[in-house]
């Protein structure tokens, strides 16, 4: 058994930035990171709607791979006395928590498992019919095809479950940073009106929620900003002090890099105004931060400032948006881009005559020439891949587009090769807001069933 955590600090590990992130690095946090809490983030904007779709088709409503991952992590967490907090409950937090309790029982581990819910605001949104940010029209105008409507909850229910002694806390949609703030609030007894304390917890969560992006992942530029041992990058640990300092480290001996540069990139990641980063728990201001770079993969931050939290909670509605079809074919050698452009021209003309595709927007990219770079770079390009992409109403239309590109093998320019294609259902998201007072986050202990 691990020693009791010191009251004056709490150590939280950022064990996952998405549902399939590196499991070995999360396990290393538990085994070598001396952490009190392992945070497992799994829900991107669209993924929750995808889980709702799966649930309606008889699925569990949470990620299929979660049980396999927890079979690895739970025994280690139990051994080291580490709590686990995750939004992996997806569209079914209670069902997911019951699954976790079952896994614990199978492994003969004593764990108290809590579920946090209340994020599903479908009934509330139907009742008050708020205006959508993207369209300026009321929610009801979306009509059919609405898959899910979830509010971004804050940290309060997580904090309550943690304070009550939960070993594992499973949530649906919460703001990512709440997965760290909740345990910190419970540990230190912080109250929601202590704005600088909330800011400290939110900044910690913000630095942990993308896992390796705080420790040298998504950073390397060979020869200019190198990162050692990226193949075994260590995930971040935030040690939060009762003085509201945050010390970012990683497991001893792991790869990666923590310094002013990697931490600043992650502090500003996906922020708008750095003086007003809005979350359900506090409006975070990072402009007056003190950043102390030890030079030894340790960065200490002080001075996160908090301003009043918003009276409304952000809600994301997911709506069915058809099928995205992507098909590629390669051309090589002299004038490779010329043949790829001819292939695109053939597809453009043929699809315009096809009743199922004629009204669709079809995008053509030349990978290696202009796909992620704004200008054509055709000088000495000898390896070009034509990409054809369209969002079409259904799978049948997608198949028509795939067939058109496949037929370039025998009917297109010389020497095309390597056709590959993929189709996937897509979801459009709409943003709206509901009064905080009308949303009730709940938590409960859940038994195996």
């Amino acid at each position: 058994m691990a020693t009791q955590p010191e009251r004056g600090k709490i150590r939280i590990g950022g064990g996952s930035a998405f549902f399939n992130d590196r499991l070995d690095a999360a396990l290393e946090l538990v085994e070598k990171g001396n952490i009190d809490v392992l945070m497992i983030e799994t829900l991107a904007e669209r993924t929750l709607a995808l889980l709702h779709v799966a649930k309606r088709r008889g699925g569990s409503g949470y990620w299929d791979n979660l049980a396999d991952r927890l079979r690895v992590l739970l025994p280690a967490c139990a051994k080291h006395g580490t709590k686990l907090v995750t939004n992996g409950g997806g569209a079914a937090p209670e069902g997911c928590a019951a699954m976790v309790a079952r896994l614990a029982r199978e492994s003969r581990i004593e764990l108290k498992v809590a579920a946090v819910s209340g994020d599903d605001v479908t009934d509330l949104v139907r009742a008050i019919d708020p205006v959508l940010v993207e369209t300026g029209e009321p929610f009801s105008k979306l009509g059919a095809g609405i898959i899910s409507t979830n509010a971004y909850l804050g940290a309060d229910a997580i904090a309550a479950a943690y304070a009550a002694g939960a070993d594992v806390i499973v949530t649906g949609r919460v703001t990512d940073s709440a997965l760290a703030l909740g345990p910190a609030m419970a540990h230190f007894g912080w109250k929601a009106d202590d704005l600088d304390a909330m800011a400290c917890g939110v900044l910690s969560g913000h630095l942990l929620e993308c896992g390796g992006q705080a420790t040298g992942g998504y950073f390397a530029e060979p020869g200019l900003k190198d990162v050692p041992d990226l193949d075994r990058i260590g995930f971040p640990i935030a040690e939060i002090g009762d003085d509201r300092s945050i010390t970012i480290t990683k497991p001893p001996g792991s790869g990666g890099r923590i310094d002013r540069h990697t931490i600043l990139e992650q502090i500003l990641y996906e922020m708008h105004d750095p003086a007003a980063y809005i979350t359900p728990d506090v409006t975070l201001d990072v402009t007056e931060l003190d950043l102390e770079d030890s030079g030894t993969d340790v960065v200490r931050l002080r001075g996160a400032r908090g301003h009043a939290r918003p009276d409304q909670l952000k809600v994301l509605a997911g709506v069915d948006s058809g099928v995205l079809a992507e098909i590629e074919i390669s051309y090589g050698g002299i004038n490779a881009d010329g043949r790829a452009r001819l292939a695109a021209d053939i597809i453009r003309k043929r699809t315009s005559r096809n009743p199922m595709l004629g009204n669709q927007t079809i995008q053509f990219d030349l990978i290696g020439v202009n796909s992620v770079w704004p200008e054509d770079e055709t000088r000495s390009v000898r390896d070009v891949r034509l990409r054809v992409a369209a969002r079409v109403p259904d799978q049948r239309a997608a198949e028509q587009l795939i067939t058109e590109v496949e037929a370039l093998y025998v009917n297109g320019p010389a020497g095309g090769g390597g056709v590959r294609f993929a189709t996937r259902p897509t979801i459009r998201t709409y943003t709206t807001f509901v009064p905080r007072s009308q949303v009730t986050p709940r938590w409960q202990f859940v038994e195996a069933r």
Partner: protein
């Protein structure tokens, strides 16, 4: 004075929020903060992105942390909802910013950095 890419003076990470692109800019050397504040203006960034950005460009300065944050509105062809781009989230766009050419003194350390980083 001589020209060099911003790439050799600073680094950047791009993220997305809807149809807006967020982008940090962090000098390798804190001493270059003032130089970048003068050269990497809202107008210069708007020019660099050209037709990729249809909306307003915002720049937030962080003089204490010696860093910048940019928000480019209507920059992602509708973002994940609508874009048919290969890089739907626009995460590779920091490379567009860092290709910006700057006029800096001939003696600037970025030139030796560039010479050292040059591929054989």
């Amino acid at each position: 004075m001589a020209q060099i890419e911003l790439f050799y003076l600073a680094h950047s990470r791009t993220g997305d929020k809807g149809n807006s692109q967020t982008m940090s800019l962090i000098p390798y050397d804190e001493a270059d903060y003032a130089l970048l504040e003068r050269l990497v203006t809202i107008e210069a960034v708007a020019r660099q992105f050209g037709k990729l950005v249809r909306g307003t460009v915002h720049r937030y300065t962080l003089p204490k942390l010696k860093a910048f944050n940019f928000v480019l509105e209507e920059a992602l062809q509708g973002g994940v909802n609508d874009s048919l781009n290969l890089d739907t989230h626009g995460k590779s766009r920091s490379a567009v910013l860092l290709a910006m050419m700057l006029d800096v003194p001939d003696s600037h350390r970025a030139f030796s950095l560039k010479a050292r980083a040059a591929k054989p």
